[in-house]
């Protein structure tokens, strides 16, 4: 597999005579990919129908002549101001009922048919001009779907779209009323056009209503993306990509990814640490200038599962301080290189830095680039160049199956957001806690959708918190040769968000009935016999299966029959580590206790070891300074 480095570039931001010098410096730094175009609609079409592709032609020529490959973005995340004159109702509406206005980006509602057609139109126009251009090696569609909470919109377009979607799904309001249990609180509907969006209700809406809206909203992202795919596919053979954003879970990435060729994501380790990693303050302080040691890897492994045939990229990689976290310090020297190596070790085909030169104007003027606003090299450039020099020396590790599969299911995220039952129950956090536990044991992981066809070939399969266990899934879990861990909260609901009857988890061959659940505030953890505790969530289980873990009061917490295990609580880190270690032992997977902040990623006979901590760590005879890394052969 060839690994590439790239950069995000905005020729429209700079004088044209600066382009050749920029291109040459990119090439000198060892970069070979350059992403352009994704916010440039107002320059491509300054007024409706007035197409100005000439500057883009010239930019592509300059870049290509310097030996760079171009990734071309569709500019649909930033419709020009005139678009609002054509579609005054295209704006998304927030949960309080206010339109979200022009003046930044992503100012459109995914449900709006008029804007969707405009997006397809500009994609088609770009495809017609550049689809067969060999200098364009890939396409990026839109930018960071869902960023800035833009998946959910409470607009008129969404209201009408939701009613149509419900009519398609349920066919009759009687069926919908039954599915949702609308007899409760006299919520029954007679006509689909009586159904409103589930915002601003007096108290919480029916969770089935809320979950249906969440499914609808995700489908609208899929449909929006698909409209551009449909426009581009006939016009190009280059791969189609979207760049997802970290911990954006409001739409189903697997569903969007199914229409695309490569998954990519935008990796901002330090921004994410302060902005969206759930961790204690001392952990955040320890990793302030490095980013969380597992958050990037989680997304690498997730997007490898989203991309077709495991193909994935980093489309944007933080090269220095960003501008959007609560605080924005600079990375420790070496971290830019470390993050990039880690991405490659997880199978990335490309890592692109965001951005080439720091813009002195507009919203991201405080966001570092590889160059400073005054054109001098920023610290990131040196690390990028060092990385480029590293690349040829790296072992050629193609994506390989990891021993552990972790199921991540977007509808489960929505369901538990709708109904957390305890203030700190969060599906992502549960999956991430399990993932972190695996990483502390030195394990490599594949994160996969809840699809039995994807799970084959792993030695250990983890299915935490899955909303609904389908018949296919229970059949597979009962017959796979892998060790299987299901729970907590998995299989507890029907797809319509009712309680499953018989009560969950309904695993084949494992006798277990969750009779009721308890949520536990901080300080009310339930100690386990073997150490550690259950926190946040614990279930009462009736079972005749073997009990592997129980509370000090004798309530079963981990049970098993054969290879199938059911976990009836959210384990704290100590208990999580023990439970995972025992599972691996049964699965014949070797574990390694990693030092604090040290992580590894294994591919066949190679592995990368990285040190996220700010202190020297020794691991397997290697002394790793802060931000240190080593590639090694596995004997």
């Amino acid at each position: 597999m060839t690994r590439k480095l790239g950069v995000c570039y905005y020729p429209e931001h700079w004088p044209e005579d600066q382009w050749p010098r920029d291109a040459a410096r990119m090439k000198d730094a060892g970069l070979t990919l350059v992403r352009i175009g994704e916010f440039a609609w107002s320059r491509l079409e300054p007024s409706p129908g007035d197409l100005r592709f000439d500057w883009l032609d010239r930019a592509i020529s300059v870049l290509a002549e310097a030996g760079l490959e171009v990734v071309l973005g569709t500019p649909t995340a930033t419709p020009p101001r005139w678009m609002l004159d054509r579609h005054p109702d295209m704006l998304a509406v927030d949960a309080r009922g206010q339109p979200r206005k022009f003046g930044s980006r992503r100012h459109y509602c995914f449900s709006h048919p008029g804007y969707r057609a405009e997006a397809a139109r500009i994609a088609r126009l770009l495809g017609e001009r550049y689809g067969r251009d060999p200098r364009i090696v890939a396409w990026q569609i839109d930018n960071e779907y869902g960023c800035h909470d833009t998946t959910l919109s409470y607009s008129d377009a969404a209201r009408h779209g939701f009613r149509d979607w419900l009519a398609q799904r349920y066919q009759s309001t009687d069926a919908l009323n039954r599915a949702w249990g609308n007899v409760f609180w006299s919520m029954a509907y007679d006509r689909f056009d009586q159904i409103d969006l589930p915002n601003l209700t007096v108290t919480e809406p029916n969770p089935a209503h809320a979950l249906a809206f969440r499914r609808y909203a995700s489908d609208m992202v899929v449909a929006f993306n698909r409209a551009q795919v449909a426009a581009l596919r006939p016009l190009t053979d280059a791969p189609l990509i979207h760049n997802y954003m970290g911990r954006v879970t409001e739409f189903d990435h697997h569903a969007v990814g199914a229409d695309l060729d490569i998954a990519s994501w935008d990796s901002y380790p330090m921004g994410f640490l302060l902005d969206r990693v759930e961790a204690p303050a001392d952990h955040k302080a320890a990793y302030l200038r490095q980013g969380d040691p597992d958050f990037q890897a989680f997304h690498h492994d997730l997007y490898r599962g989203v991309g077709r045939d495991g193909r994935w990229w980093i489309m944007e990689q933080q090269p220095g301080p960003v501008n959007w976290a609560p605080w924005n310090p600079a990375p420790l020297p070496g971290m830019v290189r470390l993050w990039s190596h880690e991405a490659f070790a997880h199978g990335a085909e490309a890592v692109c830095f965001f951005r080439w030169r720091q813009a002195p104007f507009a919203q991201e003027q405080m966001h570092a680039g590889l160059l400073r606003p005054d054109d001098s090299p920023a610290p990131g450039l040196e690390e990028a160049a060092a990385l480029a020099a590293d690349l040829p020396r790296l072992p050629d590790v193609s994506p390989s199956r990891a021993p552990v599969a972790l199921v991540f299911d977007y509808p489960s995220q929505w369901a538990w957001e709708v109904q957390p039952q305890g203030a700190d129950f969060d599906y992502f956090a549960l999956c991430f806690a399990m993932y972190r536990g695996l990483r502390k044991l030195g394990l490599s992981v594949d994160i996969l959708p809840a699809d039995p066809a994807r799970l084959a070939g792993h030695d250990l399969i983890l299915v935490p918190g899955l909303l609904h266990l389908s018949a296919d899934m229970t059949a597979y879990l009962a017959t796979t040769q892998a060790q299987v861990l299901v729970g907590p909260r998995a299989g507890s609901k029907t797809p319509e968000m009712s309680i499953a009857l018989p009560l969950g988890p309904n695993l084949q061959g494992l006798d277990a009935t969750v009779t009721h659940v308890e949520t536990l505030p901080p300080g009310a953890e339930r100690a386990l016999q073997r150490g550690g505790a259950a926190e946040r969530w614990i279930e009462a289980v009736e079972t005749r299966a073997e009990i592997l873990e129980e509370t000090t009061e004798g309530a079963p917490v981990l049970i098993r029959t054969g290879r199938q295990h059911y976990l009836a609580a959210w384990p704290d880190p100590e208990a999580m580590g023990r439970i995972l270690r025992d599972l691996c032992s049964r699965a014949g997977i070797q574990t390694t206790d990693m030092p604090e902040g040290v992580r590894q990623r294994v591919h066949g006979h190679h592995k990368l070891v990285v040190n996220y901590s700010s202190e020297m760590r020794v691991f397997e005879n290697d002394a790793l300074p802060p931000a240190g890394l080593v590639w090694k052969l596995i004997p």
Copy 2:
């Protein structure tokens, strides 16, 4: 007095062929009451005028034939979706100006005349059909008025209603301007239709304006309830009941109760602990699975005062985990029984569990019932049955006057919400702190409105924080043979929310002038000479009365002349205990220092002792395990 156990049941949620078995199991468990119908409007009238009472007829028959007595609810808390087509403006509007939409419950504005008429209509139709039916032993009107912050609405209906109400109250805008002091900041009105609701003002509205709106909003609840009472009264002799919700103070329960026969309330001890009891974190941790040891009793004693002739019920009693608190653990074994015994000891005629079978669908699917969703017994059922077995053995204790009366006045709650002066001044919290102090001394308490006619026969009368002292009240307090404690903040205002002149408290025969007040943030408590401290609120008092308590700097905090005492501060628990003990001593009331978490309720020669703590406690030679209780004769 006969004590009854009951349960809330929703026949419309279950197949009709399940009803007989449900009824038989209820009976087997020792339940004799069953409440039905209160959310069933969409089944009773699926479209306007299309009445379907047949299923209700059959449900009543099934229940009655099993030997159960029926409490029938009017379904007005959940108007069907078609009601909005008839009355598009019937929704309440929140303080930010947004309509609170259909999709859950309580989606109506109390001020809306059209909806009020619809509510009276359905009540009348139910009364016509079931009013003389002997199987219906009581009526519940609506459900949990004010729950989900629904008392205050900023709708057009409220705006117009408020103007009419003001015109009735003040007769002229000149009178209103004078009463409110509208000369201040040029706020005078020329016409009643210039007066808006007091939301969204630039800075705080005139407190007189705000208090008037709070009085108006409470009156609308009274009027809404009264419309249904007026419809039902001619049609039935069965008692009319409303089920109030814990710590809902936005309307005057005494005023609503005056139109009804029995007060009932919905008791969710664990939900309330985390959701609406103001207490330190360690206290909440200690009582996490038991509920606060005084919160239920406070409401029992409050609603005994709200019900006609002291008649009151628990209409809903938590039988296991609920779904709506920030966290929802399960009760300690025995607590369901303990809570119910305590209610009976405070004079409840009935305790009904909410609900029979946990619903697998809609908003409350995570709320425990006596049965699990799969029809198996939930833990609460066994406790309910044990309780049913206990009942015949309980001493027959009719409601009797407690030695202590505590005045609780809803308008005072509103007034101090409008004008707390310190961020943590809350009238309910003040009354509750005093109530807790009494309970820790083993005392039984009557909670009563500010009506001298209700206060007779008590040995100690406590009047904290009463907005206004009427001439009747001051006369009574000066002449009663009881010991009297008034203050802090009592008698400080006119009924129109101006400062009383002469300055309060204006007690007859007790020389005291509160010249100014101070509010104290946490950490700024003022130590008292005799120990403990004043917290949150302290007054400067000019007095020639006897000084019983003072700060270490010599400021009077408790003064008295004869039997009348004035308290010029919010005492911390230590000071509160001492002050109350001393008062009891002067009143000839015997006190008992209760162990932590142990409480008692005395009736004549019997008393119930309960242990809310999670540890074994010994009290008067009885060893009480967690959730333990004992009924005993008082020698």
Copy 3:
């Protein structure tokens, strides 16, 4: 300079027959000024055009006959209710899009031309009647501009006004697009009427857009004030004054002040401490009943720079507990006198107490006056009288130049609010931290706008955080004989809120380039070699200048060439103290380490020493009790 004491009085609140007695008691207490009229519009013009000045004539007569001088306010902060019938769209609109309704005060949008004309009309009418009346010694225009967040309004009037303002400033949308960098995210505009206000955007608006709106909003306050000035100037020779409110920074006080004669401010030390001083909890606890030891002085020194020729007053001085802070305790005895002495020591011509008698009605009924609501003296009256007795004995200290100048620039406040980059970066807080550091060293300070013409004659000039360094400014700083400290963050932007190129600070003769910045959460401070640390904000600087301070890792933090210093971080208190001490030493300014809570203000050969702490302090052989003060000659 004659020093005066005064009081705020509302004759319209009291029966006319009480006026003479009030006036006599004011005079007896030693007060000589009385401010009236500023909220009385509804009494002056009860309906449109129906002018009732007779009562005001009589009030002025009564006061003047008692020997009092009158300050007359224009009542434009409280338009009567009928004004809304004439101008229904005059209300300000909040950032969420809701009109801010009638019912309190300041219910107008500064952009509304109709209301502005009404304000000018009532000012003109008052001027015509009282402009030449010798009993009126000064005018107050409006009241506390910007209080209650009223500077920023998102109304239609603001939207249209903003577009006109932009058209004036930029002349073409091309120029605007270039200035703002609207090529970024395709935000370009074709017509000025496409530009909306920068609220409710999907993510943050362009900071240039946001800053332009902040400038516009400030200009509207200036224009509103100027309209009244224009009405009054031809009609009176008495000085025109506005009373600013503490820490209101949304409009440019220097720009408003340029149209007026005297600056005044409303000093509520205890309200401010809890409501708007940023300080640790233990600091707030220590000064709970005294107010912050530097907050008042900061404003004294700021408004001395706002007033023409340094003329400034305290128009409102807290005389006891207020009603609007989170908690409202009473001042320590002596503090009312201390605050007033301190104001005089900083050059105040007058100190007026707010208010004469506590009103028993409306919004401020819990706000103390010099009299209680029952007409008895409140504690403040005695202190006011003691103060009046002090005045003749005070040294006659005219305003003199302080050795230190601190630049405070309102646009910098707006810019950094728009783009803090770190959650706790606040320009006011930065300037205040520097000011507090100076005060702890016993220094007197002039706070001045970023105008070289104003900076002459100081020995030390501090320029923290100045958005933009103009050519005039850099030239001045390079040539002044004063020691100069610039930074952090100064000179980092163009006036249009782009990054300055070359990169800042661009000082003449001091080689320094800030290549990037870091923001630091609490706990991530960077230790300095010489002790203390950088917190919140630190810059990477390339420099060949002398390094005076650096981090323990060797990053330069304070550099200098000649007299010019650049500070590349936000120093913690320890580092701030050392840096300022060293600067003073270089500037030949003598410093004094003040004991905790003790402060001094020097004028020529006199100085005032005050003790803000609640404990006895000894300073220079003077024992100062809590709230103690001493005036002394400097040898």
